[in-house]
Symmetry: C2
Subunit: 201 residues, 2 copies
């Protein structure tokens, strides 16, 4: 409707190639493990040169990680669009819900990705890493929201880090349960526990 249709053949092919590489990478690594798959294997499966692979992704792992669901600008806007009297944690919850819905739109893709992560723990840090830029942006937005200067009280940093941890845990639970419950519900549940101060269950 909006953005993905009105591209020239060139850009359409690029998106196609990128998606094909991501998909091939996930499939192959799910089957043979991270170490059992070379970049050449992936490139061959899509019938491009391995040099081309590196034009799309800076490393083998990056093809598995996939896009941060939303751009940092988008996250900032989303946070700023909320009324000022919404508490920070609630704002982070709402932001996370939107993310969760995005993930669910690509259910199969994400479940496969999470399975690969589970089987190749060395990738997990990368997942966090891809979020480190995101984390900065969200932290800044939270600071603005709560009228705190960055690097003083530590509140924005903490709230953001904790929210992202909660989101990550929800994703992993979702994956472990085979994508059965709604991810958004798991996210809500996690935030509810956070808001309650993580009391003993």
């Amino acid at each position: 409707m909006d953005s993905a249709d009105e591209l020239g053949r060139r850009d359409r092919k690029k998106l196609e190639t990128r998606a094909a590489l991501e998909h091939a990478a996930l499939k192959l690594v799910a089957a043979r493990g991270l170490a059992g798959v070379t970049v050449e294997d992936i490139a061959e499966a899509v019938d491009v040169s391995s040099r081309t692979f590196f034009n799309y992704f800076p490393s083998k792992e990056d093809a598995l990680i996939g896009p941060s669901p939303a751009s940092t600008a988008e996250l900032r806007e989303r946070l700023e669009a909320l009324p000022a009297d919404v508490p920070v944690l609630e704002a982070l919850r709402l932001m996370s819900r939107v993310e969760a819905e995005r993930v669910q739109e690509q259910r199969e893709q994400w479940l496969l990705r999470l399975k690969v992560f589970e089987q190749n723990p060395s990738l997990l840090p990368r997942l966090v890493a891809s979020g480190s830029e995101t984390e900065r942006a969200v932290t800044a937005a939270v600071a603005r929201r709560s009228g705190i200067e960055l690097g003083t009280s530590g509140y924005p940093e903490l709230a953001t880090a904790v929210a992202m941890a909660a989101f990550r845990v929800a994703m992993i639970r979702w994956s472990a349960a085979g994508g059965r419950p709604e991810l958004a519900d798991l996210v809500d549940e996690a935030f509810a526990q956070l808001a309650g101060g993580l009391p003993n269950p």
Copy 2:
């Protein structure tokens, strides 16, 4: 007194070499950035072959990360040693305090390490999630503590992830402040906010 003195020359040299490699790696990367330092540079600075470097560390990054905060067994023991009526979050706080004190014992080393992490964001995620093995172990201990089976409620996973995020944020604040405040106090502060449900400040 207890463990580090009664080793043969051989083991002493091994520890020495390892420490020298870590130190050289940190120094060099602090000066030139992660990409500006090769394994050979590090090995040469210590006057060993680069193959020897890989006998000590599985990757260049691992030389920078430093020791696993504590052995997983130790963390488990520390958690299990606490009376059963100590709330989970409080138990995690106490565990984190001990970690914080350890870090402060090697103040200079850790401040340098954190500076390196700050300048090379790709390393950041490893800071606490050093191997997700630690996280697994702590999660398991928390589950046992709270009588919850792993993978059911998600509470142990959430509490652990959140606690580690809080610790990470405290470390970064500590580093940013040049190691001036007590790390343990920053950890306490973060846990207090968590326990309070992260209310707007």
